[in-house]
């Protein structure tokens, strides 16, 4: 049987008593040792040296009524026992210096004596498991009850030990998971495990998260659900701010993120708070973080670490405390290795990394997502749309087959359902509608891309890379590459490609913009020029 060790304060009021009358009073520390069916093997009594005389008396009284109990007085000088910081620091010091032997001893932290502040600190330190203990609360004998020992109650702060509470938490957790999945009853075990992990991190940690996955896998969507969850738990009270870093470029990108003062740069007419400051107290979702410029990366790192940064053109730092979620479809590790992404920033955001599988790897989740999308469409269109039974069977058979590529993942599925819902007559999606949609998807995935300017994208991206691109992107990229190859350098190509915005914006960031565009496809100038 384990030795029972109680740790508590000497009660300067409740344990006091000089005359024999003290025995008629309930004294909590004494009462610990007056239980007829419960023995304290060791009592670690925290006391201020100025109460030495009281301690001596308690020691004598304990010896008399509880010969089984070893008293270990622990001097803990406290100038002001009502000062939270002081008491916490003193107790923290005590607990750090104490060697617990949980194999052989069970610990109870007695919270009935000591100031309320001491009680709070003991609670916090126990809750944080500094004290590997249960709380012990004693109360005076009830009117008419026998003896002077009163009642003892132990409180285990491990809430999972209480059946009723555990059930509640399970229900709450189920609700959290459901929220993260937007109520979609997903079946894919890998995805469900992932959501499970995200829920645990989201409810317990404020550290940045990194969501990996192909475009359309639902990164932005998930970030928004994490925000909702944290908001529900009162962990956030600010807004959800979403930025796609691929859309930021040049000086404007700094200003957009970090804000600027009036006249900070040409065209900075007024003052601007910037997205980071807007996200104060809330959640900032930086999608395509791999596309962030090097300067912005440095600023962002400072902002994450210090929760403060300089707006463009300002001498004064501003503060913003936000939860960061970053998203990317790129291999950031490779970007770090090749010097495109700061290693320190990567280390900072790479603490909780969650790879989101594409739709093709979660075929069992297509059906629940289709019904979810349909319902959403119904709400947006203001009328409910349903599949005819056979139509649904046909549609799912195709959608779940290996033939369906779902390159654009959930975004693509959503678009497909949107088309079906919009075209459906009388709120019913028929087999005919489905067959037409299947035809559209087939065309989208299998239609050959017309050669633009004699550029073979397969050479540059490989067949696999090419398969992940929309027809739209393929055609645009081929045209851009063709244009690049007609120019001597990046700047010249940039000038030619961004000819109109160049004039309107009166700035010269075309080369940067072009570089970013190419980087999005894993390309750079050298590769575009040489791989002819």
């Amino acid at each position: 049987m384990k030795q029972r060790v109680v740790i508590g304060f000497l009660g300067t009021v409740l344990d006091e008593g000089r005359t024999a009358k003290r025995w008629e009073r309930w004294r909590p520390t004494i009462a610990l040792a007056q239980q007829e069916d419960w023995v304290v093997d060791r009592l670690e009594l925290l006391y201020d040296p100025k109460h030495q005389r009281l301690l001596d008396r308690i020691e004598r009284d304990l010896a008399s009524i509880s010969p089984e109990t070893e008293l270990v007085p622990r001097a803990l000088p406290l100038a002001d026992p009502w000062d939270f910081e002081q008491v916490y620091a003193a107790l923290h010091g005590f607990v750090r210096g104490y060697s617990f032997d949980t194999e052989r001893e069970e610990y109870l932290v007695h919270i009935t004596t000591g100031t309320h502040v001491a009680q709070i600190c003991l609670f916090l330190l126990t809750e944080a498991r500094y004290f590997p203990a249960r709380l012990l609360q004693s109360s005076p004998p009830q009117r008419g009850s026998k003896g002077v020992g009163g009642e003892l109650r132990t409180i285990d702060l491990d809430l999972s030990r209480y059946d009723l509470l555990a059930q509640r938490f399970a229900e709450e957790r189920a609700a959290d998971l459901s929220l993260l999945k937007s109520g979609i009853a997903t079946l894919n075990p890998a995805f469900n495990r992932l959501i499970d992990a995200i829920e645990r991190v989201a409810t317990r940690s404020r550290a940045p998260m990194l969501l990996l996955g192909p475009t359309g896998a639902g990164k932005s969507f998930l970030a928004r659900q994490v925000y909702q969850l944290k908001r529900q738990r009162h962990q956030l009270n600010g807004p959800f701010v979403e930025v796609n870093c691929a859309t930021l470029h040049g000086e404007g990108s700094m200003a957009a993120l970090f804000g600027h003062t009036k006249g900070a740069y040409t065209g900075a007419v007024g003052e601007r708070a910037g997205l980071l400051r807007q996200a104060d107290g809330g959640l900032l979702f930086l999608d395509e973080i791999g596309d962030l410029g090097v300067d912005e990366q440095a600023m962002l790192l400072k902002a994450i670490e210090e929760k403060r940064f300089y707006p463009l053109g300002s001498d004064h730092e501003v503060e913003s405390d936000f939860q960061l979620i970053a998203g990317t479809c790129r291999d950031l590790q490779r970007d770090v290795a090749e010097g495109r992404f700061r290693e320190d920033l990567y280390a900072r955001i790479n603490l909780w990394t969650f790879p989101l599988p594409g739709l093709a790897e979660r075929r069992e989740d297509i059906a629940p997502n289709v019904s979810f999308e349909l319902e959403r469409q119904g709400r947006e269109l203001g009328r409910m749309v349903r599949f005819n039974k056979q139509a649904l069977v046909r549609y799912l058979a195709y959608a779940e087959s290996g033939e369906a590529q779902w390159r654009g993942n959930f975004r693509e599925l959503s678009a497909s359902v949107t088309r079906l819902a919009t075209l459906a007559e009388g709120g019913r999606i028929t087999e005919v509608d489905v067959l037409e949609e299947i035809e559209r998807l087939r065309t989208q995935w299998h239609a050959p891309v017309p050669s633009v300017g004699g550029v073979d994208l397969a050479d540059l991206l490989g067949e696999e890379g090419l398969a992940g691109l929309d027809r739209f992107d393929r055609m645009q990229l081929a045209a851009v590459v063709a244009e690049c190859r007609r120019h001597a350098n990046l700047s010249a190509a940039g000038r030619a490609l961004f000819d109109v915005s160049r004039i309107r914006r009166k700035s010269s960031n075309d080369a940067d913009r072009l570089r970013k565009y190419l980087t999005k496809f894993g390309l750079d100038w050298e590769r575009v020029k040489t791989d002819r």
Partner: protein, 358 residues
């Protein structure tokens, strides 16, 4: 070598108080050398299982016979006790939460006095507890009767201990007896002396005065029969009121305890009621003593007459019957009185290294 003996199983939830079943069983295990298991210890109580004061009795008994123990922890509802041979020696036991030292002493006395060993036991804790005989009762009533049976037992009270402060000290000294003789207590005889006594520690003298006045008045005893004995403050708080009857046949003593919130007069009235009830039936042995003499009687033989048996006594008879079947008989007498008889010619087989019977 002693042959392995059959385990006796007792039900600790039976009758009155599993604590008493336990103490009797411990004494009997030492005396007979028979192992026992007691189950469901105090199962129907609000705090079931072994209490600290019971455990001290278990440890003390185990000490004097090197017993094997199982379940000797606070709150345990099952205890297994396998005794070895009884030995003497010196020992000290402290009883927590001001538990009764007298109950521990009473567990050891019958076992050790019959074992032919010398033992000196120091006990600390409560010496004057409610629900237990007091140390004064032991020295003035119980031990003189045991000495009449040939036992050599002395008890010295060094310091009073009351609940809840405890801190009482007493020493029990047992020397080998030559042989135990039967005890016969059939008539009270003339009451030669009546004494009333108040023990008072850390309480105002007026409390004792009111108790004494009321008691003497109710019993119509002369004023000089009363005595107040103030104790040092550090032995209190504590208050007990005792009435002693010294008769030709034996000395009997009864007591009640002062309690916070209970008027002194009521403490006195309670005691007067007990004394009058005892005197009314004419039997020499009081309710408490009847209970305590059963074991010595079972060992040495004899008989006594007492009033109606208490629940405690009936339970005790059963416990003794489990270890020493048929040893004690009861005969009903007039006025619901009872005679307890133990017919044995030769002394009990003793569980002792020095005993010629083992």
């Amino acid at each position: 070598m002693t042959e392995p003996q059959a385990m006796i199983t007792l039900d600790g939830s039976q009758g009155e108080g599993g604590g008493q079943v336990l103490r009797s069983a411990l004494s009997l295990a030492l005396i007979t050398g028979r192992p026992f298991t007691i189950e469901q210890i105090r199962a129907r109580r609000s705090r079931p299982g072994l209490l600290r004061q019971h455990l001290t009795a278990v440890q003390a008994a185990a000490h004097f016979c090197d017993a094997e123990l199982e379940g000797a922890t606070p709150g345990s509802q099952r205890l297994r006790f396998v005794p070895g041979a009884v030995r003497g020696g010196e020992a000290r036991f402290a009883i927590g939460s001001a538990g009764s030292t007298v109950l521990v002493a009473q567990t050891l006395i019958p076992a050790l006095m019959a074992a032919g060993v010398e033992a000196r036991v120091e006990l600390s804790g409560g010496t004057h507890n409610t629900q237990a005989p007091t140390a004064d009762y032991l020295t003035q009533v119980y031990l003189p009767l045991l000495r009449r049976m040939g036992a050599d037992v002395e008890l010295a009270l060094h310091r009073h201990g009351f609940y809840p402060a405890g801190g009482g000290e007493l020493t029990l000294h047992i020397r080998p007896a030559t042989a135990l003789k039967p005890l016969v207590l059939e008539t009270r005889g003339e009451v030669r002396e009546r004494r009333a006594r108040v023990l008072l520690a850390a309480l105002p003298l007026i409390v004792g005065e009111r108790e004494l006045e009321t008691l003497l008045d109710r019993l119509r005893w002369p004023v000089d029969a009363g005595q107040i004995e103030p104790l040092p403050n550090d032995q209190g708080p504590g208050n007990t009121l005792q009435a002693t009857l010294v008769a030709e046949g034996l000395t009997e003593q009864f007591c009640t305890f002062g309690e916070r919130g209970v008027p002194a007069e009521r403490v006195a009235h309670q005691l007067a009621g007990i004394v009058n009830k005892h005197l009314a039936h004419g039997a020499p042995v009081g309710v408490q003593l009847a209970d305590q003499l059963m074991l010595p009687l079972a060992l040495a033989g004899g008989r006594y007459v007492t009033g109606p048996l208490s629940g405690h006594s009936l339970t005790n008879l059963e416990t003794i019957g489990a270890f020493l079947p048929g040893r004690l008989q009861q005969e009903a007498l007039e006025q619901r009185c009872v005679r307890i008889v133990s017919e044995i010619q030769t002394p009990t087989q003793l569980n002792s290294r020095t005993s010629m019977f083992t």
